[in-house]
Subunit: 316 residues, 2 copies
Amino acid sequence: MEKYLAITGGVGGAKLALGLSKVLEGEQLHFAVNTADDFTHLGLNICPDIDTLMYTLSGESNTELGWGRKNESWQFMDALKQLGEESWFNLGDRDLSVHIIRTQKLRAGQQLTEITQALFAQFGIKASVFPMTNDSVSTRVTTEAGTISFQHYFVKEQCVPKVQGFSFEGAETARVNPGIQQLLLDEDLHGVILCPSNPYVSIDPMLSLPGMRDLLHNCKAPVIAVSPIISGQAIKGPTAKMMQELSIPSTASAVAHHYSDFLDGFVLDSSDAGLKNAVEQLGLSAFTTQTLMVTLQDRIQLAEACLNFINLLHRS
Amino acid sequence: MEKYLAITGGVGGAKLALGLSKVLEGEQLHFAVNTADDFTHLGLNICPDIDTLMYTLSGESNTELGWGRKNESWQFMDALKQLGEESWFNLGDRDLSVHIIRTQKLRAGQQLTEITQALFAQFGIKASVFPMTNDSVSTRVTTEAGTISFQHYFVKEQCVPKVQGFSFEGAETARVNPGIQQLLLDEDLHGVILCPSNPYVSIDPMLSLPGMRDLLHNCKAPVIAVSPIISGQAIKGPTAKMMQELSIPSTASAVAHHYSDFLDGFVLDSSDAGLKNAVEQLGLSAFTTQTLMVTLQDRIQLAEACLNFINLLHRS
């Protein structure tokens, strides 16, 4: 059986993840998910990217808000505010059930992988999921105004402070999830797809884990990435803003360059066909297709394009 | 300033507590609350009697259900059930805010007293509150079917198993809340009122704390109790059923006997006036009034009757 590993962060990456889940069998599809956005809030262990993927794949995501669970209510938050507690991070009543279960099981000594896989199963998701590590890694954002935690930057400050760099606290001693390591060495692995997630805060944390870049570099199956930048713009989130602040051209080819040490192929939006040459000069194969995902059909088409590209790379 | 200490468990006792809060100034009124019903559920520290008192005194209690918060919703529980988790203990969305704050602060090293007093203040309650102890004490119920935790007996088993006895795990090494101890030695203490709570599972846990019975016995102010039994029946909860199962006559005078080593006076319902003699034979003063509390006015009248009784005992 041909297996695939999709590496993803939150909302942007989860769109392609959903497409992949519609075109591959559950047993074929494996996800490696960023956990460096995870944080403890009100004593609860919150894993934003894992939950976004879980809600997206199970049809439970709140498409109106763009985050959280559908059919959500906010009675808990309302009561919390009345008690004078911090309310900058919204936790819906239904969403809370996931955080409370996770927190209880972590405290009881279970590993994040085990807990996450049990939750995905409860949500009826057939694909397998691996948090990037069972260890604690935390993205810290260095800004003009000082170094702050990722959620502080992303939610509380709404990405306003200019970024100067990122660090991943705990990464140097964290261990790549053994399930991910095993998969990257698996003879049956047919392709690795980096979903169009933010390179700096969704994918880099995973790449910062000791041995991860080498695992991808040495992986026998083609490793491709889908550009999160289309025509110089990020469709979702602060990727382009971050690139500008880091004095990196906010182009798809700059993202390709960022991954070029381990990548075999790069997927550009058709509107960026002019960058194909620049990508190929990095020693990568380039593939153009529509990468903007508005409808479910767009997600499925991009997933199919990625699989076709991987098959092409196998033949070349 | 004349100070009063009211000792209470949950729903039954909280009715009189509300009456007292309407006839006394906030600074005069102090509560000692049972914490032996407290338990950890889904990783959350839940204090049923403290919360019942807090919701009752702040007008936040759910009078339709008879427990929990008013204007409550159940989205969290609904989502929890869908995840296949235990759902025998209902936690409302608004109620959850209290448990989550308490759990977080306990884990951060705050004491239950400090946390409880901060919550009461947030709920706008002027009276002061003292959990019976900051240490962990857990009521265990010995039944025909084995020894189980109180919440297991009370909520999960709905008080069906026949009880054979009770034990209070941790009581022997627990320390009476220093605030309660101080109050019982305070020159300004004018009276102590045992609210009409269950003697075995709401009041006895407090009496089982080392030194507590002596503190009450040696207290200079009159110590009175209000019978939780009226005409042989418990108005709320399993008190009468427990007494029968323990082969104790389910009468008000049996309750007076239970406390007779430290009590000065006992309040009987007018319908139990025939038991006045039996109470007096225990060496206690007896006082009859309407103790059934249906309306707020009933609660206030019983509170006033208790204060009158205490004044009478001061003069005698």
